[in-house]
């Protein structure tokens, strides 16, 4: 009878299949976008690695290589062929994980990358977790107490954390916590005598040690990771706190919050179940972005802490003019970066009921 019922009747025809189809389309769209960006990334790295240098072969074999090595590489890279064929070859190589051989280690670059990646992953993960578990409550606290002291404190801490050169903070951190206070052990992931005690399952020491039940190794690994993760996490903390605060402020002044209060709900429930519930989806995207940034930003932190991750690998490759390694590392980190961004976007679309329908 009522006009409004027509609206729901129209939607009654959409069942499980329709929503599955919509979800599939959304995923397909994101994958297409990802593919396009990946292509762009390879194009750029191709340009940087093959087109821009005056002699791309020299960049790879080094200027002390023998002539026959040079010639072999020349043919292998297909530099006698036209550019687009070179690119297609390059693309083929990248897709099969063939990044060439590293000058420094004389191993296939992909092998090196797989070896060093887990360390960076572990660092970025712990740092992000720190950022989330400290930053989110800080942001909520600041928003709820807008204008009061705690709000100003959080804002200032956030601003400073986000303007800080991470590598410098790392140095200062080492100075204070390692040199002066001696609260944390020195560089590297583990003390030497713990090295190799735990079978590498994932490459991430904390997980591997937990899996093996070796808590001594776990403790040692934790003590090594805590400082670099905290330093790296400062940026995550600042950014997440800032964004959480901003999102919460947006939500708190919405009408439905008034409705929740009118219903007689406790302030805690109003803030966390209602306001924060609406912020959660946006936060996922932010956390994804942060994680991706940290993966990339760990390059500098690893240098300061001698952390054997991909960042350090790439910078060493840089100083040794190991072009294959640099390009390989760039593509892997770049792809992860792009992939995580897109994944968070996808999750956002799937979680927000307004976007879903």
């Amino acid at each position: 009878m009522a006009v409004g019922d027509v609206a729901t009747r129209r939607r009654a025809g959409q069942g499980v299949w329709a929503s599955l189809l919509r979800a599939a389309l959304a995923v397909a769209r994101v994958l297409a976008s990802l593919a396009l960006t990946f292509l762009g990334l390879t194009a750029i790295t191709f340009f940087i690695g093959r087109v821009m240098p005056i002699d791309p072969v020299l960049a790879i074999v080094g200027d002390r290589a023998r002539q026959d090595v040079y010639d072999a590489m020349f043919l292998q890279m297909g530099l006698d062929k036209p550019i687009y064929i070179q690119y297609l070859r390059y693309l083929g190589d990248v897709l099969t994980g063939n990044f060439g051989i590293s000058i420094q280690t004389s191993r296939p670059v992909i092998y090196d990358l797989l070896h060093f990646f887990p360390a960076t992953l572990e660092l970025a993960t712990i740092a992000t977790l720190l950022g989330v578990f400290l930053g989110v409550p800080m942001g909520v606290l600041a928003a709820v107490n807008q204008g009061r002291l705690i709000d100003h404190v959080v804002r200032i801490v956030g601003l400073i954390g986000y303007s800080m050169p991470v590598f410098w903070l790392g140095m200062v951190g080492l100075l204070i916590f390692y040199a002066r206070l001696q609260w944390v052990p020195g560089p590297g992931r583990l003390d030497i005598y713990f090295d190799g005690l735990v079978p590498p399952v994932t490459g991430m020491l904390l997980i591997d040690a937990a899996l093996a039940g070796d808590w001594n190794v776990f403790d040692n690994a934790l003590s090594h990771i805590i400082l670099p993760a905290s330093i790296l996490g400062t940026y995550a903390l600042a950014y997440i706190a800032r964004m959480t605060r901003s999102f919460m402020l947006d939500q708190i002044r919405q009408e439905y919050i008034l409705t929740a209060r009118v219903k007689g709900l406790s302030e805690t429930r109003v803030i966390w179940r209602h306001a924060f519930g609406n912020v959660l989806v946006q936060l996922v995207t932010i956390i994804g972005l942060t994680y991706a940034s940290l993966l990339e930003g760990s390059v500098l932190t690893e240098t300061v802490f001698s952390w054997p991750g991909i960042g350090q690998y790439i910078t060493n490759a840089l100083f040794n003019s190991d072009m294959n390694a640099v390009i390989g590392g760039t593509i892997v980190v770049g792809t992860c970066f792009v992939g995580i961004n897109m994944l968070s976007d996808l999750i956002y679309r799937m979680l927000d009921p307004r976007v879903r329908s």
Partner: protein, 312 residues
């Protein structure tokens, strides 16, 4: 009942004040000045933004008046005087080659300004051009340009800069180019969004009926209106750009020694951190301060130019 005597205000100041506050501006110029004045009033009332503005202005002044503010050129070595702690003679102490750190910081501000200036000059015109054309023309051009922009949107700045520099060799210009490459996309998006909203507005239609060519419309009408959001975004991005540039400098990929680039100073001074902490610490504080200044200013500008964000 007479009112108390009004203090004498110079006639010219009164006139300027009245001119700025009058309800009905007589010329476009007056209207623009009024808007700028009100914007300035809002900015002035925000202490955080003012702090940021002061820091940024100090940076600019420091760079401009570097020869007047320093005793040396920051490059000449004086090994007898190396690693001196901060004192009255050397405000920030000296580094491992005896150079006064304060002087190097001041000269380094020129490099910082050069980097951000260069990035701005590359990123803003390209972003504007692509965004405005994309938004205004629409259709296939829009689709294609936006796909192109989106590809760059998700690129990792530092890593690509590393690769770039690996291939082209270290140097400020290469670092700037690398940074610019990964920074321009959001500006194209902003410009496009503005162009899309403006495309259908009446004054554009009026200009078209008067026979203005598309190019003229774009340049004289659309572009100026996009500028304010771009400026806000730029100021907010500036800190990130400075930090990336410093990171590159730290890795030795930016300005080469003996150039007093702040990131490179940190790297060079790293080994002295235990006993001569001032050598790497001071440049780091400089970077922090400048980044902070831009962030504060950016927040303040956003409040001025986008009032609905004012509570944040």
């Amino acid at each position: 009942m007479t009112s108390p005597p009004v203090p004498e205000v110079p006639a010219t100041r009164l006139r300027l004040h009245a001119w700025l506050l009058s309800d009905i501006p007589n010329t476009a110029f007056q209207a623009r000045c009024q808007r700028a004045w009100f914007g300035w009033r809002v900015l002035r009332s925000n202490p955080i933004a003012m702090a940021g503005l002061i820091i940024v202005l100090s940076l600019i002044l420091m760079a401009a008046f570097a020869p007047l503010l320093t005793a040396t050129d920051g490059i000449i070595q004086n090994l007898a005087d190396r690693l001196q702690p901060p004192s009255a003679e050397h405000w920030f102490g000296t580094d491992q080659l005896g150079r006064d750190i304060y002087d190097r910081i001041v000269w380094g501000s020129r490099i910082t300004l050069y980097i951000i200036g260069l990035v701005t000059v590359i990123v803003v015109p390209i972003g504007l051009a692509i965004g405005v054309i994309s938004g205004y023309v629409g259709g296939i051009v829009d689709q294609a340009l936006m796909r192109f922009t989106d590809i760059f949107l998700a690129f990792p700045r530092l890593i690509l800069a590393l690769a770039f520099v690996a291939s082209m060799g270290p140097g400020i210009e290469n670092a700037v180019l690398a940074i610019a490459l990964t920074t321009w996309s959001p500006y194209a998006r902003i410009a496009r969004a503005e162009a899309l909203t403006l495309r259908n507005s009446e004054f554009i239609l009026a200009a078209r009926t008067q026979g203005a060519s598309t190019l003229r419309i774009l340049f004289r009408h659309v572009v100026p209106l996009c500028l304010s959001s771009m400026i806000v975004r730029l100021t907010l991005d500036m800190a990130g750009i400075i930090l990336t540039a410093a990171g590159l400098g730290f890795l030795g990929l930016g300005a080469q020694p003996p150039s007093p680039e702040w990131g490179a100073m940190i790297s060079a001074g790293r080994q002295f951190i235990l006993d001569q902490w001032w050598v790497p610490t001071v440049p780091g504080l400089a970077i922090l301060t400048v980044s902070l200044g831009f962030n504060l200013l950016g927040d303040g500008l956003r409040d001025v130019l986008d009032p609905k964000n004012a509570s944040k």
